[in-house]
Amino acid sequence: MSSNLKYRSATRSSFGKFDLLLIVAVTGLLAIGTLLVYAGTREWFRSAGLDPEYYLKRHIINILIGSLLAYGTTLIDYRLLRAYTPVIWGAAVIGLILVLIPGVGLEVNSAQAWIALPGGFQLQPAELAKIAIIIGIAMILADRDRADKDPTTSDVLMALALAAVPILLIVAQPDLGTVLIISAAVVAMIGASGAQARWVVGLLLLGAVGVVTAIQTGAVSEYQVARLESFVDPSADPQATGYQLRQSRITIGSGGLFGKGLFDGPQTNGRFVPEQQTDFIFTVAGEEIGFLGCSVILLLYLLIFIRAFSICRRSSDLFGRLVCIGVIAWFAFQTFENIGMTMGLMPMTGVPLPFLSYGGSSMFANLIGVGLLLNVHARSR
């Protein structure tokens, strides 16, 4: 990329340090997401006699805060981030412990994942944990005497130990979806660090065995099992989880090629799909903007990943590359997990759709993730 080379040594305030296509793609998704959040809540709030723009306003504020955080993330040289890693990791772990304390943590949908803040705001420490783990693992696996040497067993074990603490705390909530996403990122980073293949294979096997044992021994709550069962057999629990998944599929399918038109989806306006401004935002897209609109959304995600991989390859060091891989794995698995769930490809897990779903914590985390990518890009070769 000649343009990148050209601006390689430019000043930090120059616009060229940003990957324009990445920004365009993310901005596109944020814009579409804003419309979808509005479309998914307008009629509902209006008919209840409430402010129809309530969610719209809050969503825009979340985007603005998130964008500032992203911009802030780009300002500090990512190589200096290593210094802050213990602080971020420690904050995330403390947050994750706090949510488990009754009275401090809020239980929503059977998962204790939120901390209530003054002013009606809520914080989800698991989102912060994603960033902490990605940076932490990148630091351990990249921080070696000789950068061209592959990580040793003790490096990998240290990385796993660092990830294990927050993961176990999230399992306790329980928020299986986030656990899977973080685990995917961890495995991807270990693999990309050049560690031996047996680590990747071993971790994947461990993950599979772990999920099965968790269900068998009852370590996973009945709520999680019900969600999984209704994925395998949607008629198993028609009124709750199965109902949601079926409604979700019908809503997307009924959109057809062109959709029912923005704000005109009867399924959306009738709120037949619960949580349609957060976890099920994709159903609003499916019904109202149809196959063509949804294809645009998928293409924008594709563009983000293409740019992110490009940044990854051009990263000047292993640390930057691992951060990119971590962020990509996080975004990719979360996107697949979420959209796959709405279309019946994946079991139901409560994870929001990056850049589209309403929700402060995840929006902030996603945009900080983008900030990390831009940061690596700005300092790439």
Binding site: G253, S254, L298, L318, I339, L345
Partner: protein, 706 residues
């Protein structure tokens, strides 16, 4: 970057893009390939239909006089949306309603639940529709109770009184016609599954009689208002509003005046039988037009009030309809009652004898008894009439002359070792008259009757062989008498054979032969019409609300019996003689119109529930006027005693109504069809009902009355 790291990166990159590709593929599947399916599913989730039933067409008699018509009736219904919002979910209001209408609270509760709200094994009476439709609780409520609800709406929140079309039976000339008309009821799940008709949940459809036979014409098309609702079932907007289209009217061949007369004659005949000491449990009467097969009247006794179905059948009423002790009023005996035809069958035997070459104008011996094999067959009342002409033999209903003829023919056909070329004159004659087959009348659930020929015997044997060959183990203790054991032994050995006794019994219409009164009427119409007989037809035409004829039902020849004219002539002469000199001479004495007919008094084997032996079936099958036969009239009274005194008199009453006979004088003014059955299709005249019922300003069948 090490090589391994590089490869890992490529693998990872491929994985990420595959995930996106999988999402894209699934999206394509849901939104492009399977979109139609999901669109349908979404519509059924979002929309709720509120169905307004169409006004069902009227069923009129041959003159256009309504026999059943949709009239506005007061219906008390419950609005679930309202009562569900009450603090106690409507318990208080529903118990008030139960009180007011003297209903059980548990019934009211059950009937106002959606079927889905109740456990699967306890859904009787549940509401098939949606929460948004008023749930009808009392049909045909009285003015007083309806006013009580309307004037105290604060006391009855969620209870509505509305005027809806209710199937009503004006009975303008006192006719009942319950069995012919049939009744309507709520659609069932099976109806809803019918791929040919798009029924709606709260519709009524025909369940029996003409109502089901011509349902497609009478039904009309219900109006549908479609509302969009949200997840909380709150209506968000009205999507469609399709107006109901009234059903067409059915004009029948029934003449209400004649029908009323036939019903009264039948009831009188049954009561006469009872007064003479017979059990007289039930009866049937049929009037057919000989030259067309039109059913002019058809009555079944006991009958019931057809409006009970609409008023909401109580458990007691439902039980009574099918109760043995009440005579099973639900049964339509003209086409569902199976009885041995007895001596009325001898007309068929005449045809058989003629075919076999017996001279009809000869004399035959009519002894008191005939010995066949080791059994003695007695003449009726064991009277010896000596050697008499065959026509007189028919007139006085001699049995013993038929024993001899049929036995001789049985022997000629090979007896217990039947020839493969057996003539079977008697079986074949019966078959040509349609015994054992459906008449094809345009009413549901007709029964076939039975022709006990060699094939039937064989089938019967194969089904019962096991029972008779192991009789001592299989039979009830009470049935282990020496006589019955002997019969069982015989049945086991050669139960598949037509035995001499079977042949002999067959010739006098006894034994295993069974016919419906309708079949017998058709047989006598065939005799009167020199062998041509028609499919019995109740429907005359379908007309729309503006009177336009949509469909006309023309007479259909069912069959043509081809025998010598001399045989018909002989039968006509003999059947007239029955009325002038024979068994029916007494009951028709002085009757001013010449009619012909045949009595029948059938022995019935078996016992009544109280253990008494069953009384004889009384038959009279006839046609008239003798010289130019127009009508075939048959009456049957089960356990009614003698053919002449019970049914013969009843048939005389029917002819009196038909021809306007009063005190043995014909009064053409009073005759039903003084100039024959009208050849033009009548106009439906709903205004006749208006004279009787006040429904000012109400539209009925698309016609505004008054």
């Amino acid at each position: 970057m090490s090589l391994r790291a590089r490869i890992n990166l490529i693998v990872f990159q491929t994985l990420v893009f595959s995930l996106l590709l999988a999402l894209f593929g699934r999206l394509f599947y849901l939104q492009v390939l399977e979109s139609d399916k999901y669109q349908d599913a979404a519509i059924s989730i979002q929309s709720r239909d509120v169905v307004t039933p169409a006004i069902r067409g009227a069923i009129t008699d041959i003159n256009g006089t309504p026999m059943v018509i949709d009239l506005p009736g007061l219906v008390v219904s419950i609005d679930r949306v309202v009562i569900d919002k009450q603090e106690d979910k409507g318990v208080t209001v529903l118990s008030r309603v139960a009180n007011l209408f003297s209903l059980q609270y548990s019934d009211v509760y059950q009937r106002t639940r959606l079927c889905g709200e109740l456990p699967k094994d306890n859904r009787a009476g549940c509401w098939n529709g949606t929460r948004y439709q008023p749930i009808p609780l009392v049909g045909g409520a009285s003015q007083d109770t309806a006013l009580e609800v309307m004037e105290n709406s604060d006391f009855y929140p969620g209870v509505e009184v509305s005027s809806v079309p209710i199937r009503s039976y004006p009975s303008l000339v006192g006719e009942n016609v319950a069995h012919v008309l049939g009744y309507v009821g709520q659609v069932t799940d099976e109806d809803l599954k019918n791929p040919e008709v798009n029924y709606y949940r709260n519709e009524v459809v025909g369940k029996s009689g003409l109502e089901i036979e011509y349902n497609q014409f009478l039904r009309g098309v219900p109006g549908v208002r479609t509302f969009l609702v949200n997840r909380k079932e709150v209506v968000t907007k009205e999507d469609k509003n399709i107006q109901a289209i009234a059903g067409n009217h059915l004009i029948t061949n029934i003449d209400a005046r004649l029908q009323s007369g036939v019903e009264k004659a039948l009831e009188a005949a049954v009561k006469r039988a009872r007064a003479s000491g017979y059990r007289g449990d039930s009866g049937a009467a049929v009037v057919l037009e000989i030259k067309t097969g039109r059913v002019l009247a058809m009555a079944s006794y006991p009958t019931y009030d057809p409006s009970i179905w609409q008023k909401g059948l109580t458990v007691k009423q439902a039980e009574d309809l099918f109760s043995e002790s009440k005579g099973v009023p639900a049964l339509s005996r003209p086409l569902q009652g199976l009885f041995a035809p007895a001596s009325t069958f001898k007309s068929v035997s005449v045809v058989a004898a003629a075919a076999a070459g017996y001279p009809l104008n000869a004399s035959y011996n009519c002894p008191a008894t005939v010995e066949i094999g080791n059994r003695t067959f007695k003449n009726f009342d064991s009277i010896a009439a000596g050697r008499i002409p065959l026509d007189l033999g028919l007139a006085i209903s001699c049995d013993s002359l038929w024993y001899q003829i049929s036995y001789d023919e049985w022997v000629r056909d090979g007896g217990l070792k039947p020839k493969s070329t057996a003539n079977d004159y008697f079986f074949n004659a019966a078959k040509s008259f349609g015994v054992g087959q459906l008449t094809g009348i345009d009413l549901p659930s007709e029964l076939k009757g039975r022709l006990p020929n060699r094939q039937w015997k064989q089938n019967w044997y194969e089904q019962n062989k096991d029972f008779y060959c192991n009789y001592k183990q299989r039979a009830k203790k009470a049935d282990l008498s020496v006589y019955l054991i002997e019969i069982a032994r015989e049945n086991c050995i050669d139960g598949n054979k037509v035995r001499a006794g079977d042949a002999v019994n067959f010739s006098i219409g006894q034994g295993d032969t069974l016919v419906t009164p309708l079949r017998l009427a058709q047989m006598y119409a065939a005799i009167a019409n020199n062998g041509t007989y028609y499919k019995p037809q109740v429907a005359r035409a379908i007309v729309d609300v503006d009177g336009k004829v949509i469909k006309e039902f023309k007479p259909e020849v069912a069959d043509n019996i081809k025998i010598q004219q001399s045989t018909w002539d002989f039968l006509h002469k003999s059947l007239r003689m029955v009325v002038t000199r024979g068994t029916a001479a007494g009951v028709f004495s002085g009757f001013p119109v010449a009619v012909s007919g045949k009595t029948g008094t059938a022995q019935v084997f078996g016992k009544n529930p109280n253990g008494s032996a069953k009384d004889d079936t009384s038959w009279f099958a006839s046609y008239g006027p003798t010289n130019d036969p127009q009508y075939a009239v048959v009456m049957m009274v089960s356990q009614g005693g003698f053919g002449a005194s019970t049914s013969g008199l009843g048939v005389r009453d029917i002819y009196a109504t038909l021809f306007g006979v009063n005190a043995n004088k014909v009064d053409l003014e009073k005759a039903i069809f003084p100039t024959g059955v009208p050849s033009t299709i009548a106009k439906v005249d709903l205004k006749q009902v208006a004279k009787k019922v006040d429904f000012t300003g109400v539209k009925v069948g698309g016609m505004k009355l008054k």
